[in-house]
């Protein structure tokens, strides 16, 4: 592809300009958490005059943050695993076979995204009560798995369809069963799609606060967003503390992302189908 002389510089300026817009508010949030409220109002853009961790210490003293963190981790890891397993099985079936009901099945899965799940909260609450799941992490795990399936099936089906049929045929002639084909042939090639689903669902279940608000009343079973929310009420006027709270709620996710991103991004750039 031919480039005119300005194409590349333009690419750079454009890409990095947008990146700065993406980053700046997050930076602002972290910087503001070190400021006093008065400082935030008088000079919202400036660097904080002094760095003190006092606000953070104060916040952490009031809540069992480690317990929240543990709960969030358990809930997110288990639901993401369940989503990956169930959705790739379902997407494999929909994308790689042509039973005449497949389109309907695909659409059936999509339907879950088309209604506000809050609509069903009363029947859900009764269901959880009957299953004895109220006030357990299982209630959250099942909810995140169930609500995560539609979008995951959509993404995985879309990408599974792009795979050439030859690879699969070869394995089939070798006598491989469906499960083996999915595991050994399809999934390894679909790392970018799986990675995308994984990170998306992890974020989703990590950040949700609606279901824990409704299903969890036990302090020791709360997840990070809900636990932090109860602090927000107390500090609605103290913006410095508010920003510290926002940063605390977001930090674990950001750190996790940086740890996992190398792995994850590598998977992406290696590409699937050459």
């Amino acid at each position: 592809m031919k480039h005119t002389f300005w194409t590349k510089p333009f690419y750079y300026v454009f890409a990095f300009f947008i990146a700065s817009i993406s980053l700046y508010p997050i930076l602002l949030m972290i910087l503001s958490s070190f400021k006093s409220s008065a400082e935030i109002f008088t000079s919202p853009l400036a660097f904080p005059k002094s760095f003190t961790l006092e606000t953070y210490k104060n916040l952490l003293d009031q809540i069992p943050f480690m317990q929240y963190f543990l709960n969030s981790t358990i809930v997110s890891v288990v639901s993401v695993s369940l989503i990956l397993i169930t959705s790739s099985l379902a997407a494999f079936y929909i994308a790689r076979f042509t039973f005449y009901w497949n389109n309907m099945l695909f659409f059936f899965f999509l339907m879950g995204m088309m209604l506000p799940i809050k609509l069903g909260i009363v029947p859900l609450f009764i269901l959880m009560k009957d299953l004895n799941l109220l006030n357990t992490l299982w209630a959250l795990i099942f909810m995140y798995t169930a609500t995560g399936i539609p979008i995951s099936v959509l993404i995985l089906t879309g990408f599974f369809r792009t795979m050439p049929h030859e690879l699969e045929e070869a394995a089939r002639i070798d006598g491989a069963g469906n499960l083996r084909i999915l595991w050994n042939v399809v999934l390894p090639l679909m790392r970018p799609a799986l990675g995308t689903v994984m990170i998306l669902q992890f974020i989703q279940s990590w950040n949700d606060f609606f279901f824990p608000l409704v299903f969890i009343t036990d302090e020791m079973k709360k997840t990070i967003p809900v636990g932090m929310l109860s602090l927000f009420g107390q500090y609605s006027a103290d913006w410095g503390a508010l920003f510290a709270g926002l940063t605390l709620a977001s930090l674990p996710m950001i750190v996790l992302f940086f740890i996992a991103s190398k792995q994850f991004m590598e998977g992406l750039t290696q590409g699937a189908i050459k």
């Binding site: 409220s37 008065a38 109002f41 981790t73 358990i74 890891v77 288990v78 993401v80 695993s81 369940l82 990956l84 397993i85 809050k118 909260i121 009363v122 609450f125 009764i126 009560k129 109220l134 357990t136 992490l137 299982w138 795990i141 595991w183 050994n184 999934l187 390894p188 790392r191 799986l194 609606f210 608000l213 409704v214 009343t217 036990d218 020791m220 079973k221 929310l229 109860s230 927000f232 009420g233 107390q234 609605s236 006027a237 103290d238 913006w239 792995q263 998977g267």
Partner: protein, 428 residues
């Protein structure tokens, strides 16, 4: 192959976590059994939207337990904006806390009318409260369902320092009030800290400014009897008065919410703050040097200046509770002077129990002013029903007026139309 490893790793992790999740569940079960062992203790839960009062409630509960060692109460507040959703969901499913913090007037009464609450007419100590306070949680069937907790008032807070500097006095009439606004503006201050971004601020402000123009309680009596309407001159004038204040509101007022107008006031940018009594503590905390005082809203029609008051919450008992008797004991405790005094001191709010003095001069003065000449927060007390509620309608319409989309007459008309759709006395 790398991905396979990763996948196995994840599956393994999942397994480990499922195990740990299970074990922590069973631990919790064990705990529960342990507690059941001490048989006589009755455990109650208490729901509320006041996450910020957790510590204060704990003190109240501790006090209660001194006399009732066999009743344990756990205060479990949830986020203000989701409280109704959470509570309604639980109640509909036959669950929910034993002791329920009720929203005042229509929304709380709706719960009573739907049969989710236990009537408490026989509760000792209820007779202390004036009828107007009990009305906040009286069911349509005439039974009492809640113990009123606190009275909120609205009035104009002002910055004493600025007033002294400019030699301003507390106004006695609407004209004097407008004169003060003018002077403040000329001297470079923002006279009134009021924004229109959040609708509730507008109905709150109208609850203060309105009575000065429609003539306070007389009008309220008339309209609740269906003898006048929202399109009457008196009410339209009250909306026009809101419009007249426009020049004295901050620049960009359409984008300002609660936090912004509060900040403008405690930093001394603005001189007057039409707001509720619950803000006193916040203002002091944000700026301990602020010289804070208040004045009641002066009348434009030759009446006494008024403080707007209403009951801001009540406590009720879940009809599905297994320990109603124990819950009643706590509610009874909430009617005692012991509780009232403690509440005023700890929460820095005005107790709904009459005659409780506060050590805080400002809160005390406010309570007195409210006793002397109060008028109800009309749209909340009488017109919070309907869907959308009349209260919501006036909020939205006033917002429209400040954005230049509506005239005061149109606002009044929309309010009348909405009220007619559900309020019986106006349906003729």
């Amino acid at each position: 192959m790398k991905s396979l490893k990763a996948f196995t790793f994840i599956a393994l992790l999942a397994f480990v976590f499922i195990l740990s999740a299970c074990s922590s569940d069973s631990e919790a079960g064990g705990e529960g059994n342990g507690e059941e062992a001490s048989e006589d203790t009755i455990k109650l839960t208490m729901g509320s939207w006041r996450t910020e009062d957790k510590e204060s409630y704990q003190k109240v509960i501790d006090k209660f337990q001194e006399e009732n060692p066999n009743i344990e109460i756990e205060f479990k507040p949830s986020k203000n904006t989701e409280y109704n959703t959470i509570l309604n969901t639980a109640l509909k499913s036959g669950e929910g806390p034993d002791i329920i913090h009720l929203r005042p007037y229509a929304p709380g009464i709706e719960l009573a009318d739907n049969g989710y609450l236990e009537p408490i007419d026989d509760l000792e100590g209820l007779d202390k409260f004036p009828e107007s306070s009990l009305a906040a949680s009286k069911g349509s069937d005439g039974k009492q369902y809640g113990v009123p907790l606190n009275i909120s008032t609205t009035q104009i807070f002002y910055n004493k320092k600025i007033f002294e500097e400019l030699n301003l006095e507390e106004p006695q009439t609407w004209e004097e009030f407008m004169e003060i606004n003018k002077t403040l503006k000329e001297e470079g201050y923002t006279p009134l800290s009021l924004g229109t971004k959040e609708g509730w601020l507008l109905s709150l402000a109208h609850g203060m400014i309105g009575p000065a123009h429609y003539g306070a309680n007389e009008f309220v009596d008339n309209i609740t009897a269906g003898e006048t309407s929202f399109t009457s001159d008196k009410f339209v004038n009250s909306i026009k008065a809101m419009d007249e204040l426009k020049p004295y509101m901050p620049e960009n007022y359409e984008g300002l919410g609660m936090e912004d107008i509060r900040t403008m006031f405690f930093t001394g940018d603005s001189a007057m703050f039409p707001m509720g009594s619950w803000e006193i503590e916040v203002l002091r905390e944000m700026n301990p040097d602020l010289e804070l005082d208040f004045f009641p809203m002066p009348s434009a029609v030759g009446k006494e200046p008024t403080v707007t008051t209403w009951v801001d919450g009540s406590y009720a008992i879940n009809a599905n509770s297994e320990n109603k008797e124990a819950a009643k004991k706590f509610l009874q405790f909430m009617t005692t002077e012991e509780f009232g005094t403690m509440f005023t001191e700890e929460f820095k709010m005005i107790s709904a129990i009459p005659g409780i003095e506060s050590e805080d001069q400002l809160v005390n003065d406010l309570g007195k002013a409210a006793d002397e000449n109060s008028t109800p927060y009309m749209v909340l007390v009488h017109f919070a029903g309907g869907n959308p509620s009349t209260k919501t309608t006036i909020e939205t319409e006033l917002q429209g007026m400040y954005l230049g989309e509506r005239t005061p007459e149109q606002v009044a008309e929309a309010v009348q139309k909405n009220a007619e759709s559900w309020y019986k006395p106006l349906q003729k």
